[in-house]
Structures are given as structure tokens and as C-alpha cells.
């Protein structure tokens, strides 16, 4: 039976603003399926975003939503979580919003291990503002501000999150659509800061400048580079050259969660009076 997405969509908001072939719609569908699997109540779920193409997502989802300042999704979401620790807080955003402008907020949310889920749609570029290069743009790729090729090496969001202290890190792609909802559902269930990076395509500002003839070519590239973690264990370093691992990359359930630790601080402070 066809899945009923309308249940979690604000009525009258479709068609959405994303370009033809943009993977953000696929990720939004994955998020809706994950919310449905976990049976999340609309009034107990907050979707928070910053600014950017991907950050338009909360506008379409029918639950508590917050569309905030550029890169500050993690800061606002921390506020929501601290005020109402029983809420399921989900952050959405792009690679520029999350790792450049909001890079500082992102690493500190990871460090605190606060129980939230951050879905980063990595399309390798700042799409909304005209295709400037982001920290995730691969070396040599062209963007509107690097017309002769990007000299910077890119960020590996998953490794950055693990290094900063996130306790659940997963990666999927917009091509592997049926994996997205499973990764997001597992991330929401995890007690601690979870990061799900979804490799995405931006046909309008990235594909056009980097000689991708069509959306299909970009999708096929995602299919080629993605290697599941289990399959990668049997592969040599040479075979893994240029590939990207997908699936659950890191999980640690021993690190204390921030809101629980903070409740102890409140307890100590009240007892001291």
C-alpha cells in the first residue's frame, strides 16, 4: 500500500520549493517514514533548522517546528531540549549551515552529547545563496566562488562528529532511499547526540558547474561511491580509494547524556540551599 505522507505534512504546502531532482525531498520522505515507524507524537516532536535549502524542511512537516538563524539550529534546539527534555528534538540542515556557519554550535552540541538528532544533508555546496563553495566541497570541484577549482580539502562530517564527541554517527545517501528512514529511526532512538549525514545531490548549482549532465548521473555517482560498512571490512585500502562508507559508523552508549547530567546539577544545587 502506498505510504500516507499527508499525515505528517502541513496541508496546502506542496509542491515544495526544491529544484527538480533535488534529494532533499527524498530525505524529507525518509524522515516522515521514520517518524511514523517510531509513532512520534506531533506535539512531542520538534524539528529545528537554520537557513538554507535543506533548512526549509520544517516548513512542510506538521509538528512543532522552528526555523532559526543561519547555522544556529543546534543552539536553538539545545534551548528547546533543556526546557523540555521529554521532547524529541530533530535538527535538519545542510553542510554549509551545519559545518561552516554553524560549525562551532555543531561541535559543541556533539561534545555535550545532548539527546538530539542532527540530519545533515550534504550536497557539497551552498545551494540557496548561489553556489558558493562550502567546507564539504571536494578538492578541485567548481563553485561560483571557486571557478578554477576548489583548493581546499573537504570536511569528513562523520569523522568530525565522532572526534567532537557525538555518540551515534551514521551516513546514508539520497540514492539509497529505503535506508534513510532506518538510519534516522535508529538515530532518534539513541540516547545522546546522533548525527546522520545524508549525501545529496544539487543539480542546479553543483551538478551544472561540475559537468554532471543530469540528475540521473548525480544519483548514479552516489550509488557508485557508497560502500556499506560491512562490505568495506572485506575490501582493501586500494579498493576503498574514493569510496564513502555508509550505514552506522559509530555508536557509543556509555557516555552520559547531557540533560540527565544537568538534572543532577539542579538536584545538587537545590539540596545545597
Amino acid at each position: 500500500m502506498a505510504f500516507d505522507y499527508d499525515k505528517y505534512l502541513r496541508p496546502g504546502k506542496l509542491p515544495h520549493i526544491w529544484c527538480p531532482g533535488c534529494g532533499h525531498g527524498i530525505v524529507m520522505k525518509g524522515l516522515i517514514r521514520a517518524m511514523d515507524t517510531l509513532n512520534l507524537k506531533k506535539e512531542e516532536t520538534a524539528v529545528v533548522s537554520g537557513i538554507g535549502c535543506a533548512s526549509r524542511l520544517p516548513g512542510y512537516i506538521d509538528c512543532c517546528t522552528l526555523h532559526t538563524a543561519h547555522g544556529r539550529a543546534a543552539a536553538f534546539a539545545t534551548g528547546v531540549k533543556m526546557a523540555k527534555p521529554e521532547m524529541n528534538v530533530i535538527l535538519v540542515g545542510g553542510d554549509g549551515d551545519g559545518t561552516a556557519i554553524g560549525g562551532n554550535h555543531f561541535i559543541h552540541a556533539c561534545r555535550r552529547n545532548i539527546n538530539m538528532t542532527y540530519i545533515i544533508m550534504n550536497n557539497y555546496i551552498y545551494g540557496m545563496t548561489g553556489g558558493q563553495f562550502s567546507p564539504c566541497t571536494p578538492t578541485g570541484a567548481k563553485a561560483s566562488t571557486t571557478p578554477y577549482g576548489n583548493p581546499d580539502p573537504g570536511f569528513d562530517i562523520a569523522k568530525l562528529a565522532i572526534g567532537a564527541g557525538a555518540t551515534f554517527v551514521a551516513r546514508g545517501t539520497a540514492f539509497h532511499a529505503n535506508q534513510i528512514d532506518k538510519l534516522i529511526a535508529e538515530a532518534i532512538q539513541h540516547k545522546g547526540f546522533s548525527v546522520v549525514e545524508i549525501l545529496d545531490d544539487c543539480p542546479t548549482t553543483y551538478g551544472r558547474r561540475n559537468k554532471y549532465k543530469s540528475v540521473i548521473e548525480m544519483m548514479n555517482r552516489l550509488k557508485e561511491v557508497a560502500v556499506p560498512v560491512k562490505a568495506a571490512e572485506k575490501m582493501t585500502a586500494e579498493q576503498l580509494q574514493g569510496k564513502v562508507l555508509t550505514g552506522v559508523l559509530y555508536k557509543d552508549e556509555t557516555k552520559p547524556e547531557y540533560t540527565a547530567e544537568y538534572a543532577k546539577v539542579i538536584e545538587r544545587a537545590t539540596a545545597a540551599k
Binding site: M1, A2, L14, W18, C19, P20, G21, G25, V215
Partner: protein, 65 residues
């Protein structure tokens, strides 16, 4: 036994003509008719739901019983 065919509903108001459903259908059921996707060969459909899953625009529904 007669094979039960699904109903493939394409919402033209939402379709942005990105070709994803047409290209990734394993059985070549869909085609582009002008700007929008449309059903070419419903008989071949195996209800794998790949088109519905991948459509970024919420424009395809594969209705099975």
C-alpha cells in the same frame, strides 16, 4: 491466477519532471510524456515501490490492495 495490477497515481501538480522515477524503474513502466511522468506499461509493474520511494516531490503513489 490473474495478476492484480496496482494503480499508479501521478500527481501532475507536484511533478517537476526530474526523470528519477523513469530512470530507476527496474521494469521500464514509466515514461516522460512532455514535462510530466506518466505510465507506459502498467502490465510490467512488479510493485517494487522504487518510484514512490525515490520521487522527491511526493508526486507518485503506487496503490496496491
Amino acid at each position: 491466477m490473474e495478476k492484480k495490477l496496482p494503480k499508479i497515481e501521478i500527481i501532475e501538480k507536484y511533478c517537476k519532471g526530474c526523470h528519477i522515477c523513469v530512470e530507476f524503474c527496474p521494469k521500464d513502466v514509466l515514461e516522460m510524456k512532455g514535462f510530466y511522468a506518466s505510465v507506459k506499461n502498467l502490465e510490467a509493474c512488479i510493485k517494487c515501490m522504487q518510484c514512490e520511494l525515490r520521487c522527491p516531490d511526493f508526486a507518485i503513489k503506487v496503490i496496491t490492495e
